[in-house]
Every structure is written in C-alpha cells, then in structure tokens.
C-alpha cells in the first residue's frame, strides 16, 4: 500500500495552475491531511510548460517518483503527455481538451506550402495516454465553463472532475469550500456551477 496520494499537475504558464494547487492544498489542510508540494516558480513568462508535484498523506520527498502518481490534472492536453512519466499504470488523468500550440509548431504548419503539416490533435494525445491508462476524463472545460456562466472557471470544472474519482482522499464538500474560499467573491456562483458540471462529467467518464 502506498503511503501517499500523489497528483502531478501540468499546464501552460498563465492558466492558473498555482491557484489550482493552492485550492487543493487548502482543501487537504482543512481536512487535516499532510501536504507536500514541489512547485515550479521562477521565470515569470506566460506560455511556458509548467508542473506541480502535489502529494498528500505521508510523502517525504517533494518530487513524485516516476510511474507512481495516482492522478494527473492537465489544463492543456499536450502538457498531459509531456509529464506522463510521473503517472502510474491505470492512474487517473483529468484533462482539458484545450491545446495551445507553441509558436514553433504554428510556424511549421503555416510554412508548409502543401498544407500537409497539421497540429497535434487531442485524439492523437489521448491515444498515447491510453497506453498508460484507460481512466481518462477528457473535458471540454471551456464549453463547460461557459455553460457555468464564466469562461474563466475552467479550473473549477477540472477540480469538480477530480472529486468524481472514487479513491480521491478529500471529501467533495471540503474541496468545494476551498474553491469558493479562494476564487474572487463575485465569481463564486459560476465557480460552484462549474464545479458541479465538472463532477458530473467526470462521473460519467469514470463510471
């Protein structure tokens, strides 16, 4: 039996990964669980690849050993694949279907006069991820966020989906409370709806 429940967060700078990590951190602390993270701060530019190692229970190192993370939360689809070495076999992936193409890829697509070069697709990413696990919750997080009434509530959609995972160790209502405590007060209702939409969508995927 593992001594910790480990989550690898992946995304692109500017997507709010640190807030997501802070929300789960608060939820875990409020539920009297030990938390340890290895975060990537530093160069403050947007649009870079970023990650957070988020560990609950009795972890010792701030870094998750390869192949042992119980869950991955990816706010951008290609970033899920970029950090896949951390996920254990059959671990859960909660991911957005959003892809933010890096400019180098855009240049290749634009300058191919025969128009044969295409962007990487979510389907291609998903196919590769399925070699590691079938437990994938692929969310159209932007559409769900808009449905909740605010396109900037994508994080809450993802966190809602996290709570649909059966062995996730924090109670759903504790997580919801942490979300509502940390988002801007004016956006609480939309975030609460986004949370529910994510949880329902996750429940359907994971059964």
């Amino acid at each position: 039996m593992k001594d910790s429940y480990d989550i690898i967060f992946a995304g692109v700078g500017g997507q709010g990964l640190m807030l997501l990590s802070a929300i789960l951190g608060k939820a875990a602390v409020d539920a009297d669980m030990e938390v340890l993270t290895g975060e990537q701060h530093g160069l403050s530019q947007r649009q870079g690849s970023i990650y957070v190692h988020f560990r609950m229970g009795k972890p010792i190192s701030p870094l998750i050993p390869y192949g042992t993370a119980d869950m991955m939360i990816a706010m951008e689809a290609t970033e899920a694949l970029r950090y896949i070495e951390y996920l254990r076999d059959d671990g859960v992936i909660i991911m957005s279907n959003r892809i933010m193409p890096p400019p180098g890829e855009t240049e290749e697509v634009a300058l191919d006069e025969e128009r044969k070069t295409k962007y990487v697709t979510v389907e291609a990413i998903e196919k590769k991820l399925r070699e590691i696990t079938e437990n994938i919750v692929l969310l159209d997080s932007l559409t769900l966020a808009k449905e909740a009434g605010n396109p900037r509530t994508e994080n809450s959609v993802l966190i809602g989906a996290v709570c649909s995972c059966k062995d996730f160790p924090i109670e759903t209502e504790s997580v919801r409370k942490a979300v509502l405590d940390l988002v801007p007060p004016k956006t609480r209702d939309a975030n609460s709806r986004a949370f529910d939409l994510g949880r329902d969508a996750g429940g359907e995927c994971l059964g």
Binding site: Q47, I60, G67, T78, E79, I84, A110
Partner: protein
Amino acid sequence: MTLEDVKRTDSGRALMLANEAIVRGALESDVKVVAAYPGSPTSEILDTFSELLDHFGDYRMQIAANEKVALETVAGASMAGFRSLTSMKSVGMNVASDSMFSLGYTGVNGGCVVIMADDPHAHSSQSEQDGRYFGEAAYVPMLEPSTPQEAKEMVKWAFEVSERHKTLVIIRTTTRVNHQRGMIQLEELNRTEFKKKQWKDVREQYFTVGAVARRLKAKLLEKRDNLREESERSIHNHIDAAKGDIGIITAGVSYLHTKEALRNLGLNLPILKIGTLFPLPEKRIAGFLRTLKTLIVIEELAPYLEDRITAIAKDANSDLRIVGKRSGHFSEMLEYNVPIVEKVLAEVTDKKPSHDYDAVLERASRLKETLPQRNPIFCPGCPHRGTLWAFRQALDRLKIRDKIVFNNDIGCYSMAFLPPNEFSDSMLAMGASVGLSAGMEMTLEDKIIAMVGDSTLYHAALPGIINLIHHNANVTLFVLDNSVTAMTGQQFNPNSPKDAGGHPAQKIDMEKMFEAMGADSVTVIDPYETRDCINPVKDAIEAEGFNVIISRRACALYGDRIKKEEGQKIIPSENDKETCRGIYACIKEFYCPAIVVDESDGKMVIQQDLCDGCLECRKVCPVDAPHHIQVER
C-alpha cells in the same frame, strides 16, 4: 492564502512555501531590516516581505540595486545593532561576495542572516554553481535545511548564532527547498517597535586591511573553532539511528529523497543528516564513520561533503568504503530525485528498486517522440518581441547580419538565443555584455552590439558602460526599459518610482544619466510602434561612437496589472482574413503564442483569451491585417 498565514500571530499550523517559512522565521525573530535583489528561486522572500511591509510597519525594507548593495545594506543595519536579512541566488552571491569575505573578518553586531539559493539543474540560472564553498572560503558559518519547517527553524537559530559569535550566517538552500510547500508549526509573533539608535551606543570598528586584517584573521580562526563546537552540539545535525554497518551521510533535499527511497526499499540504514555545512561537526562525523564499513554520501552537485568526509575518514576509519561521486555512483550534474537515490541504494544493498524507473522513462520518451517542444517564449504583448524584430530588420536592411557581434545579457530578453531569434553570440552574467564588448571592440572588425534590461543596467552594467565610454568605444547599446525587473516577477528597481511595499522612491533619469556619462547619442523608441523602430535602430548601429537605443514600454504582465488596477479593459485583437494574404510576417521571426493558423484556409487566427491587444503583429504585417476587436462601449 499563505500570505495570511505569514501574518498570523498565533502558534497554529499552516501550509507554506519554504520561502514564506523563511520570512515567517525572520518575523518570529523580530527582524528589523530587509534588503534584497530578486533572483529565482529566492524571489518570493523579497515579494513576501514587500507585501507585508505596511501590515507590520515595524521593519524597514529596500529592494536593492544588486546583491552586493543588499548585503552591505543589511550589514550596515547589523552594525547599527539591528537584526537584518538578505536573500539572493548563488550567482548573486558572486556579486555580493567581495563584501561577504571582508564581513567574515570584521564580523557584525545585530543578527545578520543571508539566504543563498543554489539551482541544481539550472532551472532559472546560467550555471549549476555550488555555493556551499562560499562558507568555508570566507569562514562564515553555513546551514542547509531540507523542509519549510526546518528552513524556518534555521533562520531563527541563525540569528542567535550570528549574535552569539558576531558573525554573518548563510543559509544555503536549493530550488527544491525554496519551492517546496509543506506544513509548518507557527510560533507566536512578538514584534517590537522600530526605533533608530545612536552610533555612540553601538559603535565598533568594522575595518580590515594589512596588519588589522592579520590580527582579525587570527581571531577569525578562533571564532571558527568556537563555531565548530556550536556545530557539534547543534540539533540540526542528527542521526537517524539504525543497526548495520552501511550508513548514509546526506543534507538538504537529498535527505528527503533518501528517506523515501529507503522506505520504498523496505530498508532501515543509519543516517547522519548534516544541517551545518560549515563548520562541519567533524567529531560527530568521525564517531559515525567508526561504526561503519560502507558509507554512502548523498548530495547534489559537487562532492563537497564527500571530500571533507573522506579527509575525516583517513584518521577515523581508513578502511571505510565510500560510495558517492568519486566512486562513480552519483553524478555531479542535475538535481536528484527518489529514483536516482533508490537505484544506488538498491545496488549497494543488493536489492531491487521498488519500480523499474528506467522502463517508465523509456516508455514515456517513446510516447513523447512526436510531441512539439514548448520552449520558453516572450508573453503575448511583450515589448521585447517588437524590439528584437526591429533589430533584425535593421540588420537585414544594412546587410550586416554576419558582420556584427550581439552580446546578450540576463533578463527575459536572454531568450533572444531561442527560436525564432537564435542570434545571441554571448550571455554570461549580469552586465557582462558591456564588459565583453570592450574586449571585442578592441579586437574585431565587426560592429559590437550589447543589450541590457533596465534592471540589469543598474545592477551591474554601469561600470562596464562607463568603461566603454571612457575608452571611446564604438559600441551600440540597447537598453530594454520595461519599467520593472520583469523576469523574477516584476519587482521595482532604480528605474521605478517605487520601492518595497509600493513606497515612493526616486526614479533614475536614464536619458540624463547617459548624456552625463558622455554617450554620443540616446534615442528612445517604442517597440509597440514596431515598424517605426527600424530606422532609428539602423541609425544607431551605423553611427560611430557609443550610441544608446532605449526601447521603452512596460512589461506586458506589469502593464496589465496596472490596467486592471485602474479598471481598464484589455481589448484583444483579431485577424481580418479578407485583408490577410498569408504572408506570415506575424509568424516567422515573431512567435507570439496567441497566434495560430487556421488549418482550413491557412490564415492566421488570434486566440483572443491569450491576446494582450498590443497590436505589434499589425505593425509587422505588410497589409495591416490584425486589428482590435470591436467592443461594445
């Protein structure tokens, strides 16, 4: 949020980043003066002190022009009898070390603590420098924590040791400690009022040269011996007892990787965890070595501990087998993790690692073969994108791309060496572009061009610039003035009308300064008027003498924050596909991450949720296709 936790006056528990725990430890120690220059992975220490400045109101703080000035500032406050703290990355210590070595001799008065962070893996630094040698070289005690909790405790102990022995104390961290968030036990905050003192009440001599230096050196060696005793008694060096003749000595974050690796292997080996890197607890180490046949030394970067332990083992246990870097088991490169440590521990103890980590990595790299790279890139709206574009256009028009040397410097603009620019010839250290330019200008027929940001200009480039002007150098200098120290989180610097806590400060007048120094010309351009920048840049490159181009426009992240505070909206742009002719000037050599291509018609599309509305892309488009979206008023 954690800032609220740092403010708490009670003694509860809280989840904190180690950098915040360091601030909390200093506040619990009643620190009175803070000065720092930002540098990853320590910047959050400066940011947290800055944000809390007015909340507490009982300490003084400055964002210093560089790390040497920061160290001298806190040393000055210490000489005045105040507890003081500075933080810097270890390359910052290179800058500060001139004064640091002298302070080793003179000593200090009020507790004076330096946080110095190394960056194994060079996540955000120009080298994997191992700063641990500074302590020993300067006879200044150095501590190393593993966790946020320990970082906080060590800060408090460091103030005590500093005052007991009248010495500077350095706390050495690494990125994985600074950016580790964990549970900490708060202790009560008992802050006191800030009140200036009088020199006559605290006066000592802080003076070292010649005969005085020789006398101080003898005293310094005595001090070192006393500190050694302190180190032998310290709770920050401890043994995790276990049976057996295979033992481990480790420190810092490696201790955590080691403990988890042992758990994974179901092993229980004795560990001596070192918290005082200098002076080392040599007697405790010798005692520990005597109980062993095999010692495994686990530390990132250079064999600092290993070499010193090997020397101790020569007398304490000459038959000891030492497993470490010199035996080839561990690398001097990159940072460690549980798998790296676990594999060596498994090999030495004849066990199998708990996972086949190599197979996991191989499978992952196979799956990632076609994954597009995501290099660091300028943000949407970044003024540097326009400046560098105009710079390249000017070189093309002058047909001198292969007849120049471009000396780059430290800042976001360092990324000029990455696609799509890829044309920097050098980038060494803060301000080095101007120094290198002096030597190249003397020896090369090419035109020499140097580039610095506003923060780098005031940090370390000024002596090099004065040197160039003094020697009538024929050099073009770009100053990228984006208002703040952007890369580390948009902190204020001497180019800002503000200081720590947002308090008012005197902004240095850059044009007047260059004129007074004797620059042949100073031209200000606006990189958002990208196309219009080409000619002035051309002129400055062609001109003889020392010519300065100031490219002035606020960092997009900083500018957006100001806009938000003022209630202004950011209006994104869109591409007019009717006008767009698929020329791709906005894509080639421009690389804005908000820009993608519509695969159906090959036309450019702007992702509006990423767009900053700068319209630099319109300025580089030959047919002016991008424009702001229509917004309802």
